[in-house]
Amino acid sequence: MPIPVSIPTPLRPLTENLDTVEVEGATVSEIITALDKKYPGIGERLLDAQGNVRRFLNIYVNGEDVRFLQDKETAVKAGDEVSIVPAIAGG
């Protein structure tokens, strides 16, 4: 089942300016791999050299930050929504 992934403005040049794309995957990790295959270059924007989600980028599954779920191994299934959102600076 394809999972909808919402893409933030700064990364849309990599996704043909689409704000939402659909890819297959059973975990966040697989979703990222599928994204990078479909839109080459997006992977390194999401993960650092160690393969961790970049510190100032948040990935949410149904509104929950995956850092507080099972991180990249967080499971996704049909009907779930994945969002990629840069951290908001300020304060």
Partner: protein
Amino acid sequence: MGKEFFSFLKCRECGRQYPKKAVHVCEFDFGPLEADYNYEQIRHSISRQVIESREHNMWRYRELLPIDGDPTIGLKTGFTPLVKADRLAKALGIRELYVKNDAFNHPTLSFKDRVVAVALSRAQELGFKVVACASTGNLANSVAAQAAGAGLKSYVLIPADLEQSKVLNSLVYGTQVIGIHGAYDQVNRLCSEIAGKYGWGFVNVNLRPYYAEGSKTQGFEIVEQLGWRLPRHTVVPMASGSLLTKVTKAYQEAIKVGLIDQQPFSIHGAQATGCNPISTAFKAGTDLIRPVPKPRTIAKSLAIGTPADGYYAVNAMKSSGGSCEDASDEEIIEGIKLLAETEGIFAETAGGVTVACAKKLIATGRIPAGDSAVLCITGHGLKTAEAVAPHLPAPRLINPSLREFEALIANDEVHAAAA
């Protein structure tokens, strides 16, 4: 000549360099951008003597601040008193204690006057005509005042439920005050969207790399006012965590440019228990900050549930051998009263947080009793008077009669001297 001290903006995560414009986030990895300097040149240009010969304001550390020309805003800001707090030291059980009193800052009685002085000086250099901010109150006061003084139009966006005096202290300057139904983090998110759409200078969004550096001046002043040395311990209140990381940076830079020798120092953070994402992470031994969705504390100026610099603050405390505490509303009120009754200094709720947390840190030995410490007091008590008012006794009322007065004080511990 001053131009070459401040080099460029640099991503704190990947080190990519950016031009000195109104940008604040790395395009590649979304890391925050920070000002970078030519320290070698600064080292050869400033000395204790040069700094001491300058006016008593925050711009005496001009070479270490991110503007190109001469400062235009905040020319009387900073160089606030560093008060030797012997009576508070005794109450808390520590040998040597100082209060860095930014409740006395010009023009709006909080440390935010420092950051706004830098942000608006830079905004003028970049040509902005409208400046704005998201604020828990103090920043709004300072943006409103300093923009008015410079003839700039300003918008300040605040949570709708702030203290009356903080709202009034923005309104009086003729700024556009916008109250948002929501917590600070929602105000901030909205400001991010506005900043992307309008060509305004948001001091804590697109001007954040400049704004944040202003906080360093509190650290430089502590170093200078202690006679060019570092306190062994410094206790700093945390909202976004920016002040704590910048005081740390100031101490490191003072060493780097040769103003003081290398010496040990520990930085400790203070939060309100009702909004303690940084303190929770520190105590759990992680630098992963779990946001607090609904802050509940009387220390509204510290009520940031998603602290932008939380990660860096945790690491600054950890790497300096510091620690972290948080304080309940009741402890905050006690802290405000203790500082007022021992030192005659009336701090806002954030100051109560700092005193209350320092008390715990000293009592548990994380700040050893034989060491020296500085407490950073960041805003004036009249700004949050409504939080303290219910905890103070009402004045005793009598008629203008000596008999009534004598009856009133009969049980007090003072006695009239013999005539």
